[in-house]
């Protein structure tokens, strides 16, 4: 369906026919407490305004009161599905601010955990997207079965399944327990079978194709200007992956491809995530092969009472949802002066209205599901 500008659409429908629906904060498909004020002409969306702030905990102000160490458990709760990548982004920014350098083994451990996090996030997303489309839970449960194996790995390493609190500025909290690497190797060798099964279940499915092809098209220039990052941007055909651009950590040493989409619709976004899972498995194999021994913390790093010199730093990583950045200003004291989280889910929501105009209301749920938002990150 061709997308028209909101004024054209609103002008074509007589005002008495426009119905305003609040797809309200309590909704099974809005991925959290998220509200959309949708104006409908029949079933076609004429205007859509997202409303959020229901989960606003003012994490940025809490961090001004906590020390640099004390903010790390709060970063877990930003994007609560991928807690380890949040930890890494924050730890990297503090390292930039304070001039700390983590040792190599810590960098390899960080890459392994970050790619495992990408696997759990993308499988959860594929499951939830299909559930929003009406496949009431079957793909979701298959995805969660694999997710549980990875969460068990996280528990045996960090102590908690989801709120891991593992990365520290200067390295990692504790070393790998014996036998952990072998468990990850076994998981990495079994995972492609699950992906093949998942794709056999879903990718050829005509209902999925009919509901997602051509729906929610995001043109590339709009995506770049609106600051969209992550799999959504790459599905529109723009080749920008921060792992390749900044090469933070030890990502420069790994061979992996960046999958790109052609049309920028929901089906492309779903396929990009499946392909990214396969690329993550490649990175995991290489990292598990090359991981060195050695210390896991920078000897110069002080956990308690860290007082970086006055200044500021911006650090960013390619999180599973997009570019997750942290901006820290220090004034020389033990607490940060300004602590800002650049949330990928919030910025990706900028284009929700543009993608949904002219589509039916059933497509709004599918498009929202493909953006992959987590309200903990949108609202902080």
């Amino acid at each position: 369906m061709a997308t028209a500008s909101p004024t054209e659409l609103a002008a074509s429908a007589p005002p008495s026919q426009i119905m305003e629906v609040a797809m309200g904060p309590q909704h099974p498909s809005t991925h959290g407490v998220f509200r959309m004020d949708v104006s409908l002409d029949g079933e076609t969306v004429v205007k859509l305004k997202p409303v959020f702030g229901y989960l606003h905990r003012n994490h940025e102000k809490i961090a001004e009161k906590c020390s640099y160490l004390g903010s790390i458990p709060y970063t877990d709760r930003l994007d609560y599905i991928c807690s380890l990548t949040n930890n890494w982004a924050y730890a990297m920014t503090v390292e930039k601010l304070a001039g700390l350098v983590p040792p190599e083994r810590a960098e390899y451990i960080r890459v392994i955990l970050s790619e495992l996090t990408r696997l759990i996030n993308h499988s959860a997303l594929a499951g939830f997207l299909l559930q929003d489309m009406g496949a009431l839970g079957t793909p979701l449960m298959y995805a969660f079965r694999e997710r549980e194996k990875i969460l068990d790995l996280f528990e045996s390493l960090t102590g908690a399944r989801m709120m891991c609190n593992y990365m520290r500025f200067g390295g990692c909290r504790c070393d790998l327990p014996p036998g952990w690497i072998e468990q990850v190797r076994r998981l990495v060798s079994d995972f492609p079978k699950f992906l093949d099964e998942f794709e056999a279940l879903l990718t050829g499915n005509e209902i999925l194709q009919a509901r997602t092809e051509g729906v929610g098209v995001l043109p590339a220039p709009l995506a770049v200007n609106a600051g969209v990052t992550g799999p959504m941007l790459r599905a529109s055909g723009v080749n920008y992956d921060i792992r390749k651009v900044d090469q933070y950590g030890v990502y420069g040493r790994f061979q992996f491809r960046v999958p790109l989409g052609e049309r920028g619709d929901v089906f492309d976004r779903y396929m990009i995530r499946i392909l990214e899972m396969r690329e993550s498995l490649k990175i995991l194999e290489q990292a598990l092969r090359d991981i060195p021994g050695g210390p896991i913390m920078d000897p110069k790093a002080k956990l308690r009472n860290l007082r970086p010199k006055a200044g500021e730093a911006y650090g960013r990583i390619e999180g599973p949802k997009g570019e997750l950045g942290f901006y820290l200003i220090s004034d020389g004291g033990p607490n940060p002066y300004r602590y800002r989280v650049r949330p990928p889910s919030l910025i990706n929501l900028t284009v929700l209205e543009d993608m949904c105009l002219g589509q039916t209301i059933a497509d709004v749920v599918v498009i929202l599901g493909s953006i992959d938002i987590v309200l903990g990150e949108v609202d902080r």
Binding site: G53, N225, Y327, R342, T350
Partner: protein, 211 residues
Amino acid sequence: METLEQLKTRIVAAAPGAQVEIIPNGSPANQPSLLLDRDHARAVAQFLRDDSALAFDYASNATGVDWPEKIIKEKIKVKKTVDGVEKEVEEMCERKTPAYLEAVYHLYSMRLKHGPLIVRLRTENRTDRVSLPSLTPVWRSCEFQEREIFDLYGIVFEGHPDLRRILMWPEFTDFPMRKDYVEADDYEYEPTPHDDILAKAKKHFPAGAPV
């Protein structure tokens, strides 16, 4: 990417009248920033986006920062006449740093894959003259982030298509992220209160824990 000095000369050439200042950064992160004046900020932003060598087409982050007034006491040497003889005396002098709100933008280039370029805009003061030009017409990604800066700091962005509160509810009146924000006092008594929460709880529940 060019150095900031080269960039400054090119910006001043492209947007005449623009006042650009380079702000150094004290930390090892090596990320100095450019301070732009309010009147030419949008023209400079458009130059940064459209210039073929720079191509900053992606505004990654827009942040608000609150810099309240600080009184700095320092000793300076002053020439004074003491007992008829001119001497240099050390005196305690008080200096007030200016108070303003600041908006910081981090710009990257997706086409040329370089960055970051950090751009700052400052308001005149924290009380009544708090408006800044909005960069949303240049980079659409600033739309929600500038709304958040308006919501949490109170900076009014001129030219923003839809400036209203985004995280707090529409009837809320204060600006939570400012340094002088006082939280609402209606606390539920917590069993392990500390310091200021204990003082607030005692004010509301003088006898002890509620039933």
